[in-house]
């Protein structure tokens, strides 16, 4: 199976099962995209008709067909799956990452919040140190041979419970020495409570911080408002700018959400770059399809255009020496995830779990609030083995719609929560997400081709 597309003047062929990527000229593109539909002689003849006036000779066509056949022989083009429906290496009794819901409360009232303003359809609460400590102990004791353990402080708004964040980080640092493990911390925040002391602490202890900002003032303030119904932009932007300046190059992402109200999200990305933020992540809103901010099918052409222009913008900025990072365009073609990871998926419900303020375990933050998905507690561990096995068995091969999709080894079947919310099954697919993902990956790969071409 191949995927052929043209973007920014490049002709790109993806060979799905080998993961090979070829940048080709127009003749090769024509021959490859018609290769399986015509016999060799007819194909060569039609290519001569198509390109003969452009100075292409029979010898050129024959030589290119030989190159194509060599790639097929090397299993880098039109390759069949060499692996079949295998069970990816993944242990169901190893946990390596926790999302700690440090706070089920929030000091903003964002209209689109998937967590119902931080409460996940439940009561407001702050996680106690005791519950958090048990969560870290659970992680340490069940991490097997994994040395790098990831903990992200999430919510709600984690800065509303900063004391416990600090206590847990201190505890984790002690345990690192005993267990010979390394904790990598991330914290997501809306920025409202950032002050000097908190900024300095987070810069010292957090490997990564995720800072929520949607872009232009009018865009951000349409949906990200305070409980006194004021916009948050003027409160958070100066704080974020100072925070990032002090961060001195340590990892961060400005994390924006685009909705039906700002399908021209490239303008918001440029605005954030103008504010001095170079590490960016912008994601489509997820939520009920009947919500006024929900993205529609009619929005797709606009969004596709925005993604393509974003890629061009980033190439231009790089050329100027002012590069931007966009999370979904980050891709390492030669050292990306292995086949096992690509088949296994994101890790939710197995190696990655969410912990509520009460110590309940869920497959990930997006399932919290739905009691059907409670997996256990920090006291008892994962007790719902049926659910554990369901998530462990939810691989690329358990999603029937993914089998004919060219993006399968990049997407890994997509987000389990989006699948469940759309179809009622974690093995379904969220088609809208598929469309956006495929466009993003096409853009990301085009940028790699462009970079290679520039060298």
């Amino acid at each position: 199976m191949i995927h052929a597309y043209k973007q920014n003047g490049y002709n790109i062929i993806l060979d799905v099962h080998s993961g090979s990527i070829h940048a080709v000229d127009c003749l090769a593109y024509y021959l490859i995209t018609n290769y399986e539909g015509l016999d060799r002689a007819t194909l060569a003849k039609s290519a001569l008709v198509e390109f003969g006036d452009d100075g292409i000779s029979q010898a050129d066509i024959d030589e290119t067909l030989e190159d194509i056949e060599a790639l097929i022989g090397a299993k880098k083009l039109f390759s069949k799956s060499g692996y079949g429906a295998f069970v990816p290496k993944r242990s169901t009794d190893v946990v390596k990452a926790l999302c700690l819901h440090i706070s089920h409360s929030c000091n903003l009232n964002c209209a689109y919040c998937f967590a119902s303003q931080g409460k996940y359809n439940g009561e407001r609460a702050l996680m106690s140190f005791e519950v958090g400590k048990k969560a870290l102990d659970f992680l340490l004791e069940n991490s097997g041979t994994r040395r790098n353990l990831e903990v992200d402080f999430f919510g709600g708004e984690p800065l509303m419970n900063m004391q416990v964040v600090k206590q847990l980080v201190s505890y984790a640092r002690e345990q690192e020495k005993i267990y010979d493990k390394v904790f990598r911390f991330t914290l997501t925040t809306n920025g409202v409570l950032l002050n000097d002391e908190t900024m300095d602490y987070l810069n010292q202890e957090m490997n990564n911080v995720v800072l929520s900002l949607d872009g232009r003032r009018e865009v951000n303030d349409r949906l990200r408002r305070t409980y006194t119904d004021e916009g948050s932009y003027d409160i958070i932007v100066p704080k974020f700018q100072e925070f990032v300046r002090r961060r001195g190059g340590k990892g961060y992402y400005m994390r924006g959400t685009f909705t039906h109200f700002n399908t021209d999200f490239l303008t918001d990305i440029k605005h954030m770059a103008d504010l001095g933020f170079t590490e960016l992540s912008m994601e489509p809103v997820v939520g009920p399809s009947d919500s006024p901010d929900a993205l529609t099918t009619e929005d797709l052409p606009v969004l596709f255009d925005q993604y393509e222009h974003l890629a061009l913008e980033m190439l231009e900025r790089k050329r100027r020496g002012e590069p931007l990072t966009f999370y979904h365009y980050m891709i390492d073609l030669s050292h990306g995830p292995c086949l096992h990871k690509r088949v296994a998926g994101c890790g939710s419900g197995t190696e990655y779990l969410s912990v509520t303020p009460w110590g309940d375990l869920y497959p990930c933050h997006q399932f919290v609030g739905n009691e059907d998905f409670k997996m256990g507690t920090v006291d008892d561990g994962v007790t719902n083995k049926e659910l554990l096995n369901e998530f462990a068995g939810s691989t690329l091969f358990s999603k029937s719609e993914c089998q004919g999709c060219w993006a399968q080894l990049y997407c890994s079947g997509g987000c389990a929560a989006n699948s469940y919310n759309t179809t009622g099954s974690i093995n379904g697919i969220y088609e809208y997400g598929c469309e956006l993902f495929k466009k993003r990956i096409e853009c990301a790969i085009m940028m790699q081709v462009a970079d290679a071409n520039a060298k």
Binding site: S18, G19, S20, I21, H22, A23, V24, D25, L27, A28, T64, D67, I68, L71, K76, G82, Y83, K89, S91, V94, A97, N148, E150, N208, V210, Y253, T257, E283, V286, Y327, M330, I331, L333, S334, H335, G336, P337, C338, L339, H340, K341, R342, G345, C346, G347, S348, E351, Y352, H365, Q366, L409, Y410, C411, S412, G414, C415, L436, F437, A444, A452
Partner: protein, 48 residues
């Protein structure tokens, strides 16, 4: 004339990988959409 340029890509084989050290994508910047392909491999031996 080189009409086909093949990029260097990771070998998709069941025989390598599976160490489990890679970061869960939601730990970084997504949280609402999956980006497995955007993650790097964390296995140092694989990178050499």
């Amino acid at each position: 004339m080189k009409r086909i340029v093949t990029m260097e890509t990771r070998n998709m084989s069941t025989e390598n990988g599976g160490c489990g050290e890679c970061q869960t994508s939601c730990q970084s910047a997504c949280k609402t959409s999956c980006g497995v392909a955007n993650q790097p491999c964390e296995n140092k031996a694989e990178q050499e």
